[in-house]
Amino acid sequence: MSWFTDRHFFLLAVVLYGLSTVYSVFLWRKGFRRDDHVNYFIILAGVALHTLAMTKRGLTFHSCPVNNLYEATTFLLWALGLACLVYSLLPRFKFLCAFTAPVLFTVGIFALMPSLDPPHGPKPDFSNWLRSLHAATILQSYGAFGLAAAAAGMFLMQQHDLKFHKLRAMLSLLPSIQRLELITLRLVLVGFVLFTIGLVTGEQLPRPEGKPYLSDPKVIWSALLWLVYLELIVARMFFGRSTRRFTIGVVIAFAFLLLTFGITNYYSGLHHQ
């Protein structure tokens, strides 16, 4: 079985995420009427294989598997999948998996590109636990932001259906829009706290010679992302921004994160070593 690497486990996980995406389309076409747990168990199996892949990789290199873009992306997806499974246990939130599966699948395909997983070079000589904490909190915050975007997507669909008097709004087993908004806000807050911790710990890490911190593309990008989420939170909580605008903002912010994460990582002198 030595030929069966962690990447193979991850590939199987992505196949399951793809299966879940197909099933999600079916659920969407059916108007999210039947809560039959199938999607939940597909994602559960996918996350189990995903965990196996990450554990195998971590054990191979004796460190938290966040050393290149492939590992960072799989960690992000793992956090997202795990959070999805936990939140899906809430009443009427089983369909969160249907909104999360497409993200897990598409980003999973992206992560499987061989160029994202080059052989590991010499390890940087700095405190491993702090780096692990930095990477874990940052990537978990992305997971929370991703899940918030999924909940926001559910909100926008349900709100649109209610506004335009679509029968689907009545027939679907989605949560009430007020509950969806609350969950979205809470997830953004959790993500924001984790992201802030991640940035603070990142600033504490020793930097290699000649690698500037503040002018690093990833640091600038992270600061920008932090400001975007801060604005979303402040505008919603203290200035009465409408729920619709808030949720659209959450979806756009995460789309921006997904689309630019790989690029900034690639050009970052601190992260791309």
């Binding site: 349900q158 009545m170 409408s242």
Partner: protein
Amino acid sequence: MSVVVIGLSHRTSPVELRERFAFAESKIPSALQALRESGIAGEAVILSTCNRVEIYAATELEPSKAFDGLKQFLVASSHEVGSLRCDDRTAQRDVPTFGEEIYALAEPQSLHHLFKVASGLDSMVLGETEILGQIKDAYALAHQHKHTGARLNKLFQRAFNVAKHIRTHTNIQRGSVSVASVAVELADKIFTSLAGREVLVIGAGETGEKVARALLSRGAKSIIVANRSFERAQTLAAELKGRAIPFDDWSGEFDKIDIAISSTAAPHHILDRPKLEPLMKSRRQRPLLLIDIAVPRDIDPAVNALENVYLYNIDDLQSIAADYLKQRTEEITRCEQIIFEKARPFLESRENQPQMRHGPAAVRGLDASEQLPAS
């Protein structure tokens, strides 16, 4: 021993006729005893509701003979029992001759019929669930007085299982088919919970009152009533344990409320976008469900374009109720398929059933071994 059913329902007869055949609950045990003593049935259950009167009997007789006996019994009971549930004004009138009003079904149709009735497929409101409770009560009563045995026990237990299966696996009971319950369902889709929600009723009309009552029954915190006649507002508010306010003050309540039901007789819109916009700002954009059941409409449809405002008029609510009903109707074939499948093993097992004693000598109550729990 085969199972037959005889009876009349809202489909075959008007209420004036049904009520003459209705059995008072207190009279059912003695009626069942008489039925078994007559030798027509070895086991029997009488289901008597406002919409149907039916006798389910397990009998050794040929179905045609059993039907004659049961029909005579039913007609005779209508003269003797005479205590009615729905309206007894016409109770003492003579029972007319019958044509299609009384139906009589033998196996397998009798089994299919019971399963359909238990699943709400034969109800006036398609898919309603109240009938299942009524069947359970009727069965429990017969069971308690030992008028059921192996055959009917098994049949009724299966009927309850079939009803549960159909409720779980089809959309026959999904959705609301009345304006008031659609409004409640809408509120459920918007708010985390109805508990603690304040409801404003503008205009003390009948439908508005029904909607308000439905919301209260689902946990709404309180009702505020505004009506042109303050006296009428006070009366309704007292009935709903809410409070009345002068009609011109209703907009001042928008800060507090979550749901507004409007049903005034005003010839023009009493709430429009320019009026609602500042009110929404002061509400800090909390969701607001507006239910306009007035004709002509009280609320300008343009307000639905405002953020966090969900406006439904009477047509919208009725259209949702009609869609639900249509959806339920579309499920009938599927439900019937399930019923046929579930009835088949029961019919196949008939040959293996123990022979039941019947006739006057055997009517002392069935053996304990033949009794099943009435759940």
